[in-house]
Symmetry: C2
């Protein structure tokens, strides 16, 4: 029901993803009157789905607290998250209100053992392909341990999504001052280097321009600067798109050039379009939730469903659990050694 | 002497700016052997300049502490800052090592009365023109008072640079959570709203994508997120430039289109080029220092000198001093009223 266009975009998006991955099966939650007419147009999708009517749909402008009051137990958003909790679904995908989705997901699924705070991971288009960037706005600030948790969760997601064995992980920092960056970032870097975890290759610090360059597979930062970086990059892409449009219509020669190069421009627009690499992933909860961009089209929603498929197929949850176990075993080993040395 | 190309770029840049502003006069500090041959090629610039030979030039990779040890009193960087302190120059422009320049500027000029920390203000290209964004990396973190100081300094700079009477000021924040953003940001917003200063129009919170949109004339944030936003945007512009180049050479039709639309592309590249809106401005010190991009060309260096010219011509320093005076008078009025009410 979520996003700017509701089932009109979500259902065609599901159909697209089903074409690519015929093994997918869907539990759909929504208001019947709004969904049925659209669903009826996609018989293959209908056969692969179970539809559950819900009385309430969370609105895009509902505050999280209000969404929880109105929509707990009975809204389509709650029930789709609950399906993950019950084991009826492997992943939940929603284009709905991000704040409400995060609040409900935290309330319903709770954070994983040993994880204090969830994070939202974005899939970032780079010159070299794609990277994962987290946290892009689940919470403001992060202490050393939370940055380490984000690193492990992001690395596990990179293994599931990009199917690489040992993704590179960088901590986002600034390079202007001699004594660089936040204390927590420096301390997290020190610990990640020392603990040399098997599921990642800790790279060191990266800067804002390394995001688009694709210097590392996973970029870790706290939610305030992560959200600002994401939106600054999106804004810049949109801004250059506007410059480009203006430049290509100014003279008739430019217009002719544009017509000749049209397919090249279409490819470019696709690469610049944030909808194409859709899907913020909520990590650190007892279940995986994918947030699709609210303003996306069917292609974009399908991309989010594709991400969900990868996360389930490659069992993201056990990858994260496994990494956490190894890390905490190493930490307690180190602590025991330290105690023995003191004794 | 600074930047990737030293006097080879700085001197032609000065000549360009002098052509545009014949009233400019220069005090040049550098190593004679490196500068003289270039300067000799620009007789008009030579006539408008006094050259001072210095024994030492700070290197681009010198750590600030090392630059201070090696270069205090005698390096070209130190002496150009000192010229501002002595009143021999109105503004100092350097393409040198940012960390060293900030360290020397703080040491030599000291922060203004009532200002605890300097900030670096960037001139940000937007869809609507240009905005000022600060702090983009002078220091990590900022408390409420420092964010208010940055707002006043940024507004004064906008008045000097854009020649508008009451620039709009926004505080950078994130919009995902119900309880948004950092405590300091919220508190600074409350105070700016209440104190309704004559030199600015406080707009409220803005998000990362408002930067490129040009929603406000001045965007205020602490140095960590500001630096990351700046570099993320620069990285995205570079990334899209690479996509564009690749798209325009893939097929012969695209290549032909590119040739026809070449002048449009050149305009676009100019708008995307960070060098064209060159000049980070150090604010909050007893003197104005302009940092030009190290990798810039003569055009970019000239743009930084143009900014310096605007700052001096419109007397940025007294604008800031004046605003600080008004603000502190209002704050103490409010405090007195509060005491009277209590008494």
């Amino acid at each position: 029901m979520g996003g700017d266009f509701g089932p009109e975009v979500a259902i065609p998006g599901l159909a697209l993803s089903l074409d690519r991955h015929p093994e997918l099966r869907f539990q759909l939650f929504g208001i019947e009157d709004a969904c049925r007419p659209v669903l009826d147009k996609y018989p293959k999708l209908k056969d692969a789905s179970v539809f559950h009517h819900c009385e309430v749909a969370v609105r895009m402008d509902d505050k999280p607290s209000k969404a929880l009051r109105r929509g707990r137990w009975r809204s389509s958003m709650w029930r789709s998250i609950d399906a993950v909790k019950n084991g009826d679904a492997d992943v939940c995908v929603s284009a709905g209100n991000t704040g409400a989705l995060m609040a409900m997901a935290r309330f319903c699924l709770r954070t994983m053992a040993n994880i204090e705070r969830p994070a939202i991971a974005a899939i970032w288009p780079t010159v070299r392909g794609e990277s994962i960037v987290l946290d892009v706005g689940a919470t403001v600030g992060a202490d050393t341990q939370q940055l380490i948790d984000f690193s492990m969760m992001g690395a596990a997601m990179a293994r599931a999504l990009f199917e690489i064995e040992k993704p590179t992980v960088g901590l986002l920092n600034i390079g202007v001052e001699e004594i660089k960056g936040q204390e927590e970032v420096k301390e997290a870097g020190r610990i990640l280097k020392m603990s040399s975890l098997p599921g990642m290759n800790y790279f060191g610090f990266v800067e804002g321009d390394d995001l688009g360059r694709g210097t590392v597979d996973v970029v870790v930062t706290e939610g305030f600067s992560g959200n600002i970086a994401l939106k600054a990059a999106e804004g810049t892409a949109r801004q250059i798109g506007e410059y480009l449009r203006a430049a290509m219509t100014r003279t008739w020669l430019a217009r002719l050039g544009y017509i000749l190069a049209k397919s090249a421009f279409d490819r470019l627009r696709e690469k610049m379009d944030p909808g194409k690499v859709n899907g913020g992933v909520f990590l650190g909860l007892n279940g995986v939730i994918i947030k699709s961009h609210g303003g996306t089209d069917a292609d974009g929603f399908a991309a989010a469903v594709d991400v969900a498929h990868d996360m389930a197929r490659n069992d993201l949850m056990s990858k994260i659990e496994n990494d956490l176990k190894i890390y905490h075993a190493r930490v307690s080993d180190t602590e025991m050694q330290a105690q023995e040395q003191q004794g």
